[in-house]
Structures are given as C-alpha cells and as structure tokens.
Amino acid sequence: MIGTEGSPIVRARGLCKRYGKDAGLVRAVDGIDLDVAPGETLAVMGPSGCGKSTLLHLLGGLDRPTSGELWLAGRRIDAMSERALARLRRDAVGFVFQAFHLMEELTALENVELPALLADRSPRAARRRAACVLDRVGLADRASFLPSALSGGQRQRVAIARALANEPLVVLADEPTGNLDSEAALSVLRLFESLHEAGQTLVIVTHDARIAATADRMLTMRDGDFVDETRLTGGSTGSLGTLAGLEG
C-alpha cells in the first residue's frame, strides 16, 4: 500500500497553486519540483507570503493544486477523491502548526489520543498509544493537564505528540517555533532532532534561518518557487572557537 523502500515519501512535479485571475492572479506556488527522501529532514525557508505555507498544505493534502502532479507515500494525490485523500492524510501525515491548534477543553492525553480514535482504533489502543507518544515528547507527567495549564513549549510538544499518534510517514510543520521564546524553541528543536534520529521524515517551513539550519537540506523559496538549495550536512568549515573569536 505504501511506497517502495527508498522511493520519495513526497514527490511533486510542476506543482502550481493559483488564486484569483487576470490582474489579481496570485501564483502562490509556481511550478515546483520536489522529492523528500525517507528519513530526511527538509527545511523550506522564505519570507512571509513566499508561498511556503501553501506548499506545505498542498504536500499534506489539505489543499488541492491548480496543476501539476503530486505523490504522497507513493500514491498520486492531486486528483484523488476527497474521501480517499482524507484517509491517506489521517494515516500518513502528521501536522504541526505555529498556533498549536489543541482542543482547549481536552487534556493533553485526550488531545493526543484523538487522531487514533478518529482512525477507528479501539479506545484502549488509542489511550496506550497516546500515553506512549506523550512519554516520548517528555510530557508523561503532564498527561492530565489542560493546554491552558501548559507553557508554550509544552503545548507545542503535545501538538507534536498528537502529530505522531498515528505513526505518520511524514510530519509537516509550519513555523513550529514561531510562537515560542528561544528556550522553548530549543526544546522543540531537540525533540525534532530525536525524531530525526529515529528515522522520522520531517518537512519544516519557516522564515527563521536558525530553525531551517538544523535540517539536512534547506530550500529557499521566493515568489512561489525555489531559488536556492543548500545541503547542510558535511563540509562544515570553521571550528566553534573561530566563530566565537577565540583565535590567537
């Protein structure tokens, strides 16, 4: 059912999303080609309005492209029926948003078990799974807290646990640290790093170079298209001592 070993988790060819028409035409995503390999952490960086959030919504099947071809987990989704797309989205994709989007009247644990319940898992299996991922994000002791009783960094970690609840093939994160101070942002980045080490495929869109630089590969986006690709692993130059001005 899922793509063959080693083939891209996400694949796009000539992907376009346009709004409006004539003089008001906006090319939010303008002919993008993209492959995301299994286990890769990819960052898409660009200023607000460059189309990166639209791109992320297309990749996760939250929005439909105007034209182009798109595969998720080896299945063509640009023309897939709404119902099949909803099921694939639920099983294969975890979303993380800047504003967390937690249900305020549910506890941390209940928020995290929701996706498994919606996927028709038994309540017992859903609860077990939720407790397990909450533990994985370091919040086992906050399971019974309402979101309002948690710090920003903790709320985002609950949201990440929720994204992981159905063991998605890819986690798509839209400015995941945008609402966090630098200490909380570090805690989220450390969590992403541990997911990366565990082999989780991850796509992060952000305007923040600091967040993007933690990825394996970074694509820079302007006006709906990629303008630069930088491989960040390997080839790093200059020791930290030099960066700190400790020479001599």
């Binding site: 630098s182 200490e183 570090l186 980045l189 450390r190 790093e193 170079a209 600091r210 993007a212 630089a213 933690t214 970074m218 630069d228 930088t230 960040l232 080839g235 790093s236 130059t237 200059g238 020791s239 930290l240 001592g241 030099t242 960066l243 700190a244 001005g245 400790l246 001599g248």
Partner: protein, 174 residues
C-alpha cells in the same frame, strides 16, 4: 586573550590549571578547540611585562612545584581599563563589501554568485552553532555564548540578503 587571563586572575591568585578550568567552564563546547598551552604562554608574557607575578608553591611528592600567579597593581589597572572598554569585537563587513564591489567593477566574478556561496557557508556555520546549542543544558554559560554566535550569524544572513537585493538591482540596470 591577555585581558581575559588577567580578569580571570582578579578573583584570587591561582594556578594555571585553575584558570584553564574556569575558562573551560565559561566556554562550554566552544572551548573544546582551545589549546591548553595557550594559558601558560599568555601567563609567561604577562609576567614578563609586569602585569602578573608568580610564586612557587611546594609540589606534592609525585608532582613538580606549581606556580601560583597573582595580579600586580599594573595588572589590576589593566583589568579595570578592559572592563570599561567599549570596543566591540566582530567581523567588519567592509572587506566582504569591497570584494563584491571590486569583483563587479573588474568583471572578475558575479557578485550574486559570491553572495550565494557566502550564504551557504554562513548557513553551515549557523547549523554547527545551533546544533551545539541544542546539545547544551539549559542556562549553561556555554549555551549563552552559543546564543551570541547564533544571533550574529543570523544578522550576517540578513545582511547577505540585503547584498543580494542590491546586486540583483544593479545587474538589472546594466
């Protein structure tokens, strides 16, 4: 380096290895690349110029005698001057800026290519610093130093974006 060693000595007369340990503690992972011999070389220089004095302390049976270093009055004055000094260390952008101007004027290279190459280099450095920061415990002195490095690299990236905009316009006009 001289002023740093003097300032570390201001707390109390110390052995060289104690100064080294204090410095390591303050630098965290950034200090890993530091040459341990550097402190002793610096102390010897400071002694020669009269900013510190040293006294031998009796060694243990299995160790040679160790020198204990202390600030002289001139050394104390130097530390006070250094603390009041507002010189702000950091890479001056003038050199890179002039590189772009010269490359464009002589037609030697495309300034936009130079900017893009430099940007990738800064991004890799940012990654190294950010990942080192992620590996540090919260609120450690080493983490605070890495935060400073990261913020500066971010500022460099923003300036490179300004360079890119400028040279894109220039190319459009020629």
């Amino acid at each position: 380096m001289q002023e740093v060693v003097l300032a570390l000595l201001a707390k109390e007369p110390s052995h060289g290895y104690e100064l080294r340990a204090r410095m390591r503690q303050a630098l965290g992972p950034v200090g890993d690349a530091m040459n341990d011999g550097q402190i002793y070389v610096t102390l010897a220089r400071l002694e020669k110029t009269g900013l510190v004095t040293s006294e031998r302390s009796p060694g243990l049976p299995d160790r040679p005698d160790r020198k204990v270093y202390a600030l002289t009055a001139a050394g104390q004055q130097r530390v006070a001057d250094w603390l009041a000094d507002v010189t702000w260390p950091g890479p001056a952008p003038a050199q890179f800026h002039l590189k772009l101007v010269a490359a464009a004027a002589a037609g030697l290279a495309d300034p936009l290519t130079i900017v893009a190459t430099q940007r990738r280099e800064v991004l890799r450095r940012l990654r190294a610093a950010q990942r080192a920061a992620m590996a540090e415990p919260d609120r450690s002195p080493g983490g605070l130093l890495l935060e400073g490095i990261v913020l500066r690299l971010q500022a460099d990236l923003r300036w490179l974006e300004a360079c890119e905009r400028h040279w894109t316009r220039e190319e459009g006009q020629s």
